[in-house]
């Protein structure tokens, strides 16, 4: 009984302190609130975390911001919007952070973005790919770093149109990202290549693809080419079944994101050669800014960067650049600073567009190849995000007026 009683007493004591502990007064530091679904998407988010930790180190080593040390308060949002909003509230009201950043899944990102609007806080969305976060549901307080679903689709479409294939089959994970990718691809390709036909569509549930059946259904539809937005475990299952059943023989395949190390590396000797993908060929990029990032990352973590690392690093650097340019942590001043902000990233110069708060960070477009039993990207080029966005008039029509 004494153990139980001690446990109970301890719990009560802990609860009391947790409930009533006010925000610790922090003089001389700038606090940034970071939140992500670390336990739900660890394959992407562990490298992401290493990325922003590296950036934080660099910022503080060079003297911090506005003469103050920078501190990141990081939280797990448990992968659902309800908890994310609560965690955001904790960061804002108890930790007094100057701005929020992070998020992976689109629905979580949208919820936090709306929270930011309500609480009048700056929010830099790192990873959510949904187009809505800067367009239909965009708001004054939200900026987004990664190239969106639409942009990445637009990067692949020119290559697809060049092949001039008539009959296309499409496979996508059945949720907003896959649906938007599919809709975007159909619209953009049909505009470039009139008369193109989309003859089959497969929409497996996210994480639950019945790969054998899906591959067979696609073979039976006899398409000339395939567009896919699968990733993670679904992609690996699809590739293995497709290889075994000969789906990819003589058929060009376009797959969003499949060149990202997070999704490419697990494929190993199963890597389907010749696929057109967007991704991140980290070992072949020879620009000085990337070499410097690569060396610093390896020195700190003794590991190679994934795309998540770049996203984490650049998100942190974006927050720093906004504060530096604003000369203050006042929300409105930081927003003004971010609009049109130009900065360096490991992938080159990027700009946060004033019109829709989307950064012009791009992606690498290339083809997959098999080398020494591992997947690599070849024939790649950097597609600057700035070139793959709709016209200003279209953006204005989509985005709610402020």
């Amino acid at each position: 009984m004494t153990a139980r009683r001690a446990f109970l007493l301890g719990t009560v004591a802990l609860a009391t302190t947790a409930l009533f502990s006010g925000p610790a007064a922090a003089q001389g530091t700038i606090k940034i609130g970071e939140m992500n679904s670390y336990k739900n998407f660890p394959a992407f988010l562990e490298p992401y975390k290493k990325g922003w930790e590296l950036a934080l180190d660099e910022i503080n080593k060079s003297g911090g911001l506005l003469g103050k040390k920078v501190e990141v308060i990081s939280r797990d949002d448990n992968g659902n919007p309800g908890d994310a909003v609560r965690v955001a509230e904790e960061l804002v009201s108890r930790e007094n952070v100057s701005l929020l950043m992070g998020s992976f899944a689109s629905h979580v990102g949208l919820a936090v973005s709306d929270f930011a609007k309500q609480r009048k806080m700056l929010y830099i969305a790192a990873e959510p790919l949904t187009d809505q976060i800067v367009w239909n549901k965009g708001n004054h307080y939200t900026f987004r770093l990664r190239p969106s679903t639409y942009m990445q689709v637009a990067m692949l479409v020119p290559e697809a149109a060049k092949l001039n294939k008539k009959r296309w089959a499409i496979v996508y994970p059945n949720y907003e990202y896959g649906q938007s990718a599919t809709a975007g691809f159909k619209k953009l390709l049909a505009a470039k290549q009139p008369g193109v036909e989309f003859i089959a569509e497969q929409a497996p549930a996210l994480g639950k693809i019945e790969a054998g059946a899906v591959v067979q259904a696609l073979i039976d539809a006899k398409p000339d080419a395939i567009f896919s937005s699968l990733f993670g475990g679904d992609l690996q299952k699809f590739v293995r079944e497709g290889n075994q059943r000969g789906l990819f023989k003589g058929r060009p395949v376009f797959n969003l994101l499949a060149g990202e190390p997070e999704y490419l590396d697990p494929l190993k000797d199963e890597t389907p050669a010749g696929w057109y993908v967007t991704g991140y060929p980290w070992d072949q990029i020879n620009t000085p800014e990337h070499k410097q990032f690569l060396a610093a990352y390896r020195a700190k973590w003794n590991d190679y960067p994934r795309l998540g690392s770049v996203v984490g690093y650049t998100t942190m650097m974006s927050a720093a650049a906004a504060i530096k340019k604003a000369g203050s942590t006042d929300t409105e001043k930081m927003i003004v600073a971010l609009k049109g902000l130009q900065m360096d990233s490991p992938l080159g110069k990027i700009t946060y567009r004033a019109i829709d708060h989307q950064s012009t960070m791009g992606a690498y477009v290339g083809r997959l190849a098999l080398k020494d039993g591992k997947g690599v990207m070849v024939d790649w080029h950097y597609a600057d995000g700035a070139n793959f966005l709709p016209s200003d008039a279209e953006v204005k029509a989509m985005r709610p007026a402020e």
Partner: protein, 628 residues
Amino acid sequence: MSLSAIFIQLLNGLASASSLFLVAAGLSLIFGVTRIVNFAHGSLYMLGIYTAYSLVQVFDGSVLGFWGGVLLAGLIVAVFGALVERLLLRRLYHAPELLQLLATFALVLIIRDFVLWAWGPEDLLGPRAPGLRGAVAIAGRQFPEYDLFLIVLGPVVLGLLWLLLTRTRWGTLVRAATEDREMAGALGVNQAWLFTSVFALGSFLAGLGGAIQIPREPAVLTMDLTILSDVFVVVVVGGMGSIPGAFLAAVIIGVLKAMCIGIGNVSAFGIDFSFSKLTLVVEFIVMAVVLVIRPWGLFGRQQGIPRGAAAVEPPLYLPSPALLKALAFGLLVLLLLPLVSDRYTLVLLTDILVFALFAVSLHFIMGPAGMHSFGHAAYFGLGAYAAALLFKQALPMELALALAPFAAGLGALAFGWFCVRLSGVYLAMLTLAFAQIAWSVVYQWDAFTGGSNGLVGVWPAQWLASKTTFYYLALALCAGGTLILWRIVYSPFGYALRAGRDSPLRADAIGIDVRRQQWLGFALAGVFAGLAGAVYAFSKGSISPDTLSITRSVDGLVMVLMGGIQTLTGAVAGAAAFTWLQDTISRQTEFWRALLGGIILFLVLAFPQGIAGFIRERWEARSGRSDL
């Protein structure tokens, strides 16, 4: 589809049915004998595939190494399962029912973090099976050799299990225990040993079911829960405890999914319908249909109520003056708290209030009404979505909040009509099926519900915008709802519900329409869950399909069980403890899930009667009275 295409899709369905059958057979065996609803079964499967991946790497891809690795992985998981049974579950056989479920839920959390720690976050795609790397031509198509092997493996394992269960002494004992556990015990069967061996065999099948998947799918960290719901569906559709039933159900579901994919998009009468999208929910539709037609699954039989495993639930006494005083004092503290607390405390307390009402409404049907629900989040989510959608139709926020619970109540009335016709685990699984069907509709219906992204901009009216005012609103509605539900427990309706739970026959004989009472109770619980959901929606400002997911339903179960299912106030204590723990722990350590699991395990072992149950026991010991 051409005939040959149908044939190939049939083979595809059979191939994926095999692994599902192995895992399901294990779960079915364990449930049949021990009556444990083993939430950790999916985790055993996950351990199987990760272990097999590592062993195959170590043995370096030779034929013997591959198959040896697969088999060894199954055996390792079997040993692990036996240890879990001996060290953990054995201590809980005399605890109130469903408590083992809470313990296995804690294991899910711990095992997942263990796997992340041991194998890292990256997906691990294993090698193809040596000797079965290629494909053979069938009906003009390339068909993987390994899939053919799987098609054969399923029936072989079925046959072996059948021989084991019908031709060996051990099998006879297992069947006897499945039929009547106490009688088997009375006749001198060593139950301890039997339970351990059954658990080991069940775990072996789960581990093997995972291990044989390595040539087909990568090991990923979310596969434990992905497979768990599928396996439960298979076991329940087949009839719990029936191995041939599980096989048939696995085949039906595997083949149906393959056929849906094969059919693809169809347009008739100008309407496009995508059968491939139906794979999201097809297994739950099958389960709902089967359970409505055959309440104990395809091959299942009505199960006797296990006698004497746990203490019979004592009648609920009227709350004592001391308890009423304590409750009034608690309420007073909650009323005065905003004077001294910071903003975030109010936000956290609002969450706790919402989940307390949610848990109390779940306890209302689980405790006094005796109907276990695995899908209670459906009504929470319906309330939340109704509130958000009405609000988006330009209804005033107050009106949306007032109407939403009734939308949830209507949903509960419709689903409940089917559910109250069943009992036990079957009832629980039918509630889960309906919840999943509701979830998939919300998830898919982009134009109306916002699809997977949900709806944003659902903020309270101006006068409620301050966190303090909203906290008082939440306190009024949630505490009020809780008190009403508690009051109902002591009304004639509440007594009728409890009579129906404790002795349906006698209740029927004195003129109580048990089924109707249960139906109304179910709907009433739905109304209050919907109220909690509506408050939740406005407290968050956004709403997404997560609110009616399995995870939310399981959270509700965990809250009720942690608090103590046999006490009235337990659900509130459980909701407060769980929500607060999650909030606090996730800040402390990267492996917070494992820590949360560890704390739940500790609570289960130290206070099997739940937090409130423990306090009641202490109180009784001190005053010789029983009244919490």
